[in-house]
């Protein structure tokens, strides 16, 4: 177990270095003057652009530049974001909670719904529920996230007026910024509860329903497919038949015997699901005006705010490395065959 995790951990730095090289080589398409913006922390420094180019070796060979840039990134210095009007590192800290909140709730919903529907579809193969799940997964794979999100807004905001876009309503937002509200975690739903402000909690939930529903529909489609096929395979195995023959109840066979083994490929693909979630977050935040990393990154990309784009890419890459690690560890925990190898 420990050697397995240690081996995976040893691989991580290579992946991390690979990702920084990838991002850095993309930056090489820019002129030195544009790259110099990565090192500016204050708009006033713009006059000293030639000095900055010289100081940070932007006219010297690539590997020297890369090393300098990497050192700076490792110190947490990512430059100044013109679109956020603050240093990139601060902007990331400010925008991250909204993204985390959205991702967290969506991931929970996706896992619960996807695994349940996938299992149910496999158990009821070729019956109504199976057809329903197939319909969900085919349509979910064919309907772009942004179209689905706009449809939801049209019906539930335009027609019913239940779930508005944004993160908070105006009065709740004013209260939160008013000074009496203490931000413990940055996650609005949890902070509201910690402050004992139920109305803000409800307001935050109301604003989260549609974005979470969007991401859930889009990614559950993927998960249902994987769970269903994996479950079907497991249900055909001998040990499941043995369990049935022993006279165990249907639920015990499904829940205790079959599903546990069917989950192994699902975990392997769980990190893939996380990749989908990150892509989905970018679009969802933009459509629903949620002030998260994704919306900020897209805005920055439109306006050539290169330091922000770099920071945005690095954050997502970091999350991804972390998710892969989690999947690997979980994989070893769930499946003893991996652990003992």
């Amino acid at each position: 177990m420990t050697t397995f995790i240690a081996r995976r951990l040893a691989l991580l730095p290579f992946v991390a270095v690979g990702v920084t090289v990838l991002i850095f080589s993309l930056l090489q398409f820019l002129t030195p003057a544009m790259r110099a913006s990565l090192y500016i922390h204050d708009p006033k420094q713009l006059n000293a652009l030639p000095d900055i180019i010289r100081k940070y070796d932007l006219d010297r060979p690539v590997y020297i530049q890369y090393w300098g840039w990497l050192r700076q990134v490792l110190h947490g210095d990512l430059g100044w974001s013109e679109t956020a009007r603050e240093p990139v590192a601060d902007a990331i800290r400010g925008y991250f909670p909204a993204t985390l909140e959205l991702g967290m709730y969506s991931f929970a919903c996706i896992l619960a719904l996807g695994i349940w529907l996938g299992t149910a579809a496999a158990v009821n193969k070729d019956r109504a529920l199976d057809h329903l799940s197939r319909f969900t997964s085919i349509s979910g794979a064919s309907l772009p996230t942004f179209v689905w999100a706009l449809l939801l807004l049209m019906v539930f905001y335009g027609h019913f007026g239940w779930f508005p876009p944004g993160r908070l309503s105006l009065d709740a937002d004013l209260y939160v910024r008013g000074g009496q509200f203490h931000a413990y975690t940055g996650l609005m739903t949890i902070d509201a509860l910690l402050n004992g402000q139920w109305w803000i909690f409800w307001d935050a939930v109301r604003h989260l329903v549609l974005p979470v529903a969007t991401l859930t529909y889009y990614l559950t489609a993927v998960l249902v497919r994987i769970t269903r096929s994996s479950m079907l395979e497991t249900l055909r195995t001998d040990y499941v038949r043995t369990a049935e023959a022993k006279g165990l109840s249907h639920h015990v066979v499904i829940d205790k015997h079959a599903r546990r083994n069917a989950m192994i490929p699902v975990i392997t693909l769980g990190s893939l699901l996380f990749v989908g979630l990150l892509s989905g977050v970018v679009i969802t935040e933009t459509v629903f005006n949620l002030p998260g990393i994704g919306r900020w990154g897209v805005g920055a990309s439109q306006q050539l705010d290169i330091p922000a784009v770099t920071g945005f890419a690095l954050v997502f890459a970091g999350l991804l490395v972390l998710a892969n690690l989690c999947a690997d560890v979980l994989y070893a925990v769930v499946d003893p065959r991996i652990r003992l190898r």
Partner: protein, 319 residues
Amino acid sequence: MSAIRSTSSAPTLPFSRALAPARAVESGWHRTVRRFRRNPLSVLGMGIIAMFVLTALLAPFIAHPVERNPYMMPHSGYAPDPQPPRPGHPFGTTEEQFDLFYGIVWGARTAFIVALSVIASAVAIALVLGSVSGFYGGRVDEIVMRIVDIVLAFPGLILAVVIVAVLGPSVRNLIIAIAAVEWPTYTRLLRGEFLRVRDMEYVQAARALGASDLLIIVRHVIPNTIYSVLILASLNMGSIVITFAALSFLGLGVPPGYSDWGQLISLSRNWITGTAGDPFTFWYTLIIPGTAIFLFVLGWNLLGDAFRDVFDPRLQGSR
């Protein structure tokens, strides 16, 4: 066609074939068609795609170009409110009066051009890297596959956003960005296929006859890997168009007024809440381009599934 025959022609099949004497002399092609037609969903997918192909090919006749660049949507005036379907504008007009019908028809062309260019570039890269990697193996293989791993680990849309941000938005750069995201999948697939085919008897036979590596790759290996590429490409068409539309929707895409479904949908964003009395006043601005892109992607997904069932040798005989 020869490849289909060689994998599914009657004489090489086990004797279970004798149970159906009526079809004993069926050719590989007939068998493929029969298998394809058996699934109504494949036929539906085929129909949808045929419709889009016709629309794209006949675009100049269906929606006559007005501007010098036919991909630019004509617009009558600059009135900010979308206008409902009416004679002359069968699908209505968006904000700033871009004609939706024109945008949908020429948008089909844009979708095909983008998707085919992306696949062509990705396959070209994959053929070079995959063949070197799979055919020769060794250290090159190791390096190429680690690069593939790293690029694949990155969320596609985000990598594309970063590339477009650096290169600047234009149709060409979008194609580059999406191809940069897609090539690893094809490289990995082709490498695997090359590894599989490399040790086949007919490759050894060709080598024994003194054929050069290049000749073996071009004449013997590539033709036998092409079906798996075809399956992947058909399943991929839809997702490429979704990525393209998503970038366009995020404001990182084509110039304003360019016929593209993603842009049409982003033009509907300000109007989804409708007017005070009727929330669905401007339904057509979202529903019409949304349906176009949904059908396109659905068609390719159905068709891709069908291709997989028909061509994938591992599944043959199982149905």
